[in-house]
Amino acid sequence: MKHVTMFILLLLMACEEVLKEVPEEVYDNPLDIEATTEEGIETPALMFFPDEININTNEIFTVSVYALDVQNVAGAYININYDQDKLLLISINPGTFFSDLQDPLYFSETQNSGKIELYTVFFGADSSSVSGTGSFFSIMFAASVSGASSLTYGTDCELVDPDDIQIEIKGFGEGLVNAH
């Protein structure tokens, strides 16, 4: 009788093992407006994509600077802070948000102080702008030491329309880097 009980218990445990395989439904794409809104980030917003990065030490990764759900953007000033003791800035590359426009300009200032200042502007025909979601820059880092660090936007970031009128940025996303 003991063996039968053990057999039934094992059977139930096997069933439970199968049944608990149902994955939890998680939608956390930082560029998903619904998801970010649920997280309390209103648009238009500046986001990092991906917003969570798990890498090994000395490994290189790329994070993109995204404008989420913006309207009539013709220029941007973006200020990013990072932990320079843990992350090593490798390079900064232009994004695709203005790639369809004519002759966009990109500037960046890095002072090795854990701060990156990025400028981009479009000098084209009048009233040319972009709307929606897109990346301004791609920034390449390397994790110099293990540990967690964050990427944050400065509060003085600006988005402007073709008339150089400032567009209100309602939300700022954060990036999290876990170096092992």
């Binding site: 149902v22 794409n29 560029l31």
Partner: protein, 403 residues
């Protein structure tokens, strides 16, 4: 007076005269036949009066007083043998005894010997043979002949006229049968002994060997130990072979069938308990029900796995997408897959519950239709007909299992 003294002298001389007794005794399949003890016991008192040991060639000789003796041949590891007939002989002159060959003990023969001794002892002590005989079933000579013991006696042995097998003392090869009948062998009336030690000549053995039935002259015997001469069907040629057909059934009965046994089996596998309880149709029914439930579980599990894989794919695409349109698309697909996943899981749980209920119901049913405690796996009719030599009557024994 002189005549009286002379008469006493003659009588004393005659009374205490000694004679020389010699002969040969051999060991089966041995070249050195020394060490066989030939023991002479007085017929009247049973005390050992003389003994002698054989030489390497098996010869022995001894001086004994004229008297009536039991003569026994003994050696460790071999079956002892008594001189024929009935182990007693009277010597009033120098005598050369018939040669004898001792058979080596084997496990089977030991076993048979043990059974024989057990039965004989209890039969004699209790005078109630049924108790032992119930434990040793009537030889079913129509079914099988095992255990079968084949003895091989070298024909090159000098006067190997006495196969001297304990259970077939009267066995003899065909060419010696007639001779044995006039010398060492018992009269025909002795064929039906207590344990049915049957002599079978070649013609009768054809019949007995084919049907494996005891001889007609001894229809009611507990044991049927037939000595089969060479040339009998299925036996090898030049060797003397003897078959012991003592059917022994263990006194340990098969375990009784119980309701718990049926339920346990059905818990292990649906329908097994019903088969155990001889409810075959129910057994097939429960198996079919469980197979159907299992099939539905497998089908739902397949749907579940498909939805699971779809969900993982769509979710990975959603997480990596940067285009809002694609994000929305993959999100929708992912949500649909997750719904399918949950639906398949619910169905699978439902079917697993049904299968579990069917399983438990099958176990309960097995318990209900399970065999009662009086029913055992021992299905033979417990009637036995046996011949009791003490009363010279046939007896019918009935055994009723109490488990």
């Amino acid at each position: 007076m002189k005549r009286l003294i002379f008469s006493l002298f003659v009588l004393t001389t005659i009374s205490f005269a000694t004679v020389t007794v010699d002969g040969y005794a051999y060991l089966e399949n041995q070249s050195d036949h020394s060490g066989i003890n030939v023991i002479f016991k007085l017929h009247d008192t049973g005390t050992v009066s003389d003994s002698v040991t054989t030489e390497e060639n098996g010869y022995f000789t001894v001086q004994v007083e004229t008297n009536n003796y039991f003569i026994t041949y003994e050696k460790d590891g071999y079956f002892s043998e008594d001189i024929k007939p009935r182990g007693t002989i009277e010597f009033d002159a120098n005598t050369t005894l018939s040669s004898i060959t001792l058979i080596k003990r084997t496990k089977l023969i030991k076993f048979a010997n043990f059974i024989e001794n057990k039965v004989v002892d209890n039969y004699q002590k209790l005078n109630f043979p049924q108790k032992i005989l119930e434990k040793i079933q009537l030889a079913d000579t129509t079914s099988q002949t095992s255990p079968v013991r084949h003895h091989q006696s070298e024909t090159s042995h000098p006067p190997a006229s006495e196969p001297a097998i304990r259970f077939s003392k009267h066995a003899a090869p065909p060419e010696t049968t007639g001779e044995a009948g006039t010398s060492d062998q018992p009269p025909a009336s002795n064929l039906a002994t207590r344990f049915s030690k049957n002599v079978a000549s070649s013609d009768t053995m054809d019949r007995a060997g084919a049907s494996d039935q005891p001889l007609a002259s001894n229809p009611a015997t507990r044991f049927s130990k037939n000595a089969v001469p060479p040339g009998a069907p299925g036996k090898t040629g030049p060797y003397l072979q003897q078959t012991i057909t003592t059917k022994y059934r263990s006194t340990r009965k098969p375990p009784a069938k119980t309701k718990m046994g049926a339920m346990t089996r059905s818990l292990l596998f649906p329908g097994l308990g019903q088969f155990y309880a001889n409810q075959r149709m129910w057994g097939y029914g429960w198996i079919a029900a469980e197979v159907v439930a299992g099939g539905l579980i497998v089908m739902n599990y397949s749907n579940y796995k498909t939805a699971y894989d779809d969900y993982n794919d769509y979710h990975a695409s959603y997480a990596n997408a940067t285009d809002p349109v694609l994000i929305a698309h993959y999100k929708t697909q992912s949500q649909n897959s997750h719904e399918n996943l949950e639906s398949a899981m619910d169905d699978m749980k439902t079917m697993a519950s049904i299968a579990g209920v069917v399983w438990i119901a099958n176990a309960v049913h097995a318990y209900i239709v399970g065999p009662t405690s009086g029913e055992t796996a021992y299905n033979e009719i417990p009637l036995q007909l046996a011949y009791d030599q003490n009363t010279d009557q046939f007896k019918l024994s009935v055994s009723i299992p109490l488990d």
